[in-house]
Symmetry: C2
Amino acid sequence: MAPFSLAKRALIGKPLGSDQLEHERLNKRTALAVLSSDAISSVAYATDQILFVLGGAVGTLALSYVFPISATIVALLVLVGLSYQQTIHAYPGGGGSYTVAKENLGQGPGLVAAAALLTDYVLTVAVSVSSGVAAITSAYPRLVPHTVSIGVFAILLLMVVNLRGVRESGAAFSLPTYAFILMMVALLGVGLYKLSMGMGPLPAAAPLDVDPSSARHVASPVGYAMLFLLLRGFAEGCSAMTGTEAISNGIQAFKAPSQRNAAITLAWMVAILAVFFIGVSYLAQHLGVMPTTAETVLSQLGHRVFGTGAAYFALQYSTFAILVLAANTAFADFPRLAGILAHDKYMPSQFAARGDRLAFSNGIIGLALVAMLLVWLFNGDTNALVPLYAVGVFVCFTLSQAGMVVHWVKSKEPGWRWRAVLNGVGALATGIVSIIQIVTKFKEGGWIIAVLIPLLIFALHRINTHYRRYKIQVAFRGRSPLLPFNHVVVVPVSKVDKSAAAALVYATSVGKDVRVVHVEIDPTDTPKLEREWDRWDIGYELEILHSPYRSVVRPLVDYVTALQAETPGTLVTVVTPEIVLVRWWEHLLHNKTALYIRTALLFKPHVVVVAVPYIVGHDYEQEEKGPRWVADRAMLTGEMVAVRNADRPQ
Amino acid sequence: MAPFSLAKRALIGKPLGSDQLEHERLNKRTALAVLSSDAISSVAYATDQILFVLGGAVGTLALSYVFPISATIVALLVLVGLSYQQTIHAYPGGGGSYTVAKENLGQGPGLVAAAALLTDYVLTVAVSVSSGVAAITSAYPRLVPHTVSIGVFAILLLMVVNLRGVRESGAAFSLPTYAFILMMVALLGVGLYKLSMGMGPLPAAAPLDVDPSSARHVASPVGYAMLFLLLRGFAEGCSAMTGTEAISNGIQAFKAPSQRNAAITLAWMVAILAVFFIGVSYLAQHLGVMPTTAETVLSQLGHRVFGTGAAYFALQYSTFAILVLAANTAFADFPRLAGILAHDKYMPSQFAARGDRLAFSNGIIGLALVAMLLVWLFNGDTNALVPLYAVGVFVCFTLSQAGMVVHWVKSKEPGWRWRAVLNGVGALATGIVSIIQIVTKFKEGGWIIAVLIPLLIFALHRINTHYRRYKIQVAFRGRSPLLPFNHVVVVPVSKVDKSAAAALVYATSVGKDVRVVHVEIDPTDTPKLEREWDRWDIGYELEILHSPYRSVVRPLVDYVTALQAETPGTLVTVVTPEIVLVRWWEHLLHNKTALYIRTALLFKPHVVVVAVPYIVGHDYEQEEKGPRWVADRAMLTGEMVAVRNADRPQ
């Protein structure tokens, strides 16, 4: 344990007292940086997704569709943003989808939202980290083969940082977000300027502003197939909207007046995201940039606009930084939701416990493990992960807004009609998008989510059932004093050695009626044991239990059964020595008799098995001269008995 | 446990009493069948190996070398056979290589022999089963893709049969051996007759009786390279000699006069093996038969000599049967040797224990697992496995015969000089062959054995060191009566429920000085617990232990430490309830606090942790109406206390 503890201290830090649990309140500027990194960082991959999906079918013709699709998504974003303004108004304590759905729609929809959120937080980590790694490998192509390792390492780092317990310290967290905002403003500003000065696609690139009819070489899908394709491009592009709900979840982190500040910050976030997303799509179209597996759209735009100088690298590094920060928000949200669910008895209670550093350690470790598994399974490929991503987000949007409709209808507060209509339109729109998400992305990975979420809901439900029933079963209603049992102690002995002596000393300390037995496996060994026993002469008789089938356990169980039949209501304690060895492999060299006895008697009423630890140290060489270190540490050794007997009046 | 026990009973059978351990004595004819299957079955693959190795380098030219190489091996076989006649004379109790080497050459060479034998038994199973499967797939080529599955299944079957405990019943075991002998006599007889009538190689086959100089198309190695190749062919062919020592190991299985009978049987075995091996090689040469990956030499000879009728299939089935029987001998020998080594404290003591059916179960299971692993790793390919095989056999031959030389020199019994010389020549010859084995097959797999045997020796030695030191360390020399400790019982309580009640009833049964403590993780929960405790009113005070860092274990350890500091020499028993759940996954939903407490206190002197099992049944629905089944089975429940209190005088 010691080396493990040391490593843990070095990585995680000293334990923190519970009294240090407090909240730092954020002003609007810092809150924007902390809470909107997930949403704003989506521009690093959303345009790519549209072009990637369409490009696979219609080639560079995709460029002519990217802007209209992006514009549609921005319209949806604004609608959802307005919808969440209502939530901020109605839930000053923070309205997460789980809470809103549970309170207004009931436990069932609440669980659906919870399952969707849990999968989405995992995907936020996997997608953001993969996309962040892509920003780096776009700048340094020779790092491409290490994509998975870099991604896994980044997640491990986030895990350790979060186990230490992240103070949401404004300054450190504002830096990546504002650096990214700065670089994006520069990219779009300079890009649009250069565009107006006549910059266009590279000669090698495909024609742009293409008239669809002129693209003779591309077999473009027609009719429903084309519609399906456009819908899928739209569905993938909706990954831009992930993270929109973060501000309405985190109202309590704002300085007073927190609701008003949150509403203003949300408006800012939506505006920034909308401008960046539409801007990137516009530049990509007019500069003829298509994503490749080796280079992201943003990196290509950076190269075109900034060249290969410092500005380009600043863009890439700030992209990486904000994406890691986005992943970090999931490390705060997932464990918090898991903690709430554990408190509501839908997840194992271990998730409700705060660790040494006040963080929900089990939730953080669980999230990191699943996210690393995803990055490894999907080879850190953002394009492969995104089809799984936005499904859950839109399910949550829909449930949350439907819940708000019910909330307004019930509360009937001033303006409830138009508020209900606004949320209803939002719920309808996002509900339709949810269906588009599942249907169009089903083959590309949507089915994984369509299977996973119901399974998760089932698991949450089963766990709750267990806890509910367990509570009923162990409920205690008695009120009167306890009455001890008649108590017999049984000590099975196979050899006369120090471990047996330890068990006997313990047995005589805890009970008056002590029975020493020997289970006879090989009758030829018995006479020797009996001679040694008589020579020891401690005043207890050694009973021999025959074992015709060479089982240690069965004769002992029979003996205990007989004892209890003789005097009903007898409590039997079986005391066995347990050898504790210092080296792990040495355990393989000893029979696990103590464990077998415990297992065999586990379900037998009124029987308790006690394993008395007898420590065998590693300082063997010294042992052979005479025990020193071990004698000090061992529990109850023959030596100790001898010492104590010396004190005894003869 | 119940379903597992049932399945075990069905597969393995009822347990057998120790008094049923007896030996059946065999007459010569049966002993030949039982003990020589390993040796005689080698003809199914030995000729193949020579041709396979030489054919790879010189093509069908190999046919001109197979007879002289086989003849050399037969000469060596006769020498080794004569050598083992001496062992039979000197060790009427059975002289295994480990015993002979240990007694005459010392512990070190004994361990070398033991390690070599252990690897060889494993390879006997892997090679014999693979070769047996090849006999079947040669007859039914469409089974080739299932080679590994058939091999693994055969080993599993052998494992189960041996766990049931094989009586060495003569009749059943004689059948495969004598069927194979019969079919081989027929093959060689009819084959030689047809050969004399002018049958020759198939037109498609290569020229035979080739004059090496005429083989213009084959780039034949020259000089040392050719010598090396021939030596390697010789080394692979020596796999024919595996199993030769079986009879001298098993003298005690013979009817009286056992030594004489064993000597005669050994002579028969050597003669039969020699004739079959030389015969197969002769036929292969003159019928121009080269082994292919799809068909063994024996199968091809069968086709040429018998055609495709019943006689051919009888040959293949009897080959399969004798090879399985050969593998079966390792299932008797490996566990027996492991048992001897465990008894000598060189292997874990678990290998010395006889199972329900009097077989050494752990040895049988261990052998089967390793053999299956080998078959899987080498794709059931006999040609790939054989290079690993004979190395260990010849190391054992050498050590065993060198041991015999020492034996004769020490004993000085009549004729000791010529006997020593004979064994000395045998040791020298097999020693040289051992070196040839290692050197020529090193690259093809010999290195695995050259690494594995030293590792095994190291492991055997380490295990022995552990047991030796352990024995010294637990040796007990005290003789005086025990003196019990001053005893305090500590019961940590987190809730007032039935499991806590059970722990308290137990605590008051085993000790007078009981302290009830509550480790306070969340101070807001404490008042409620204190109210419930006061309402329960059992006459014990509840002490609150503060835990600023939310650890359950640390405050408890500090409390116990303080107790012991207060009254030195105090024995502390910590009693915790342990929830026992019926479904495995339910365990994941509960903190393992009892386990953490036990682990934290394991190395602390004079502290014993007792987990009082509290069984939570699966009949929840009934539970909600009122406990029935569980109340009957539960150890110490609140209900029981209530019942007992009703009996109490008020």
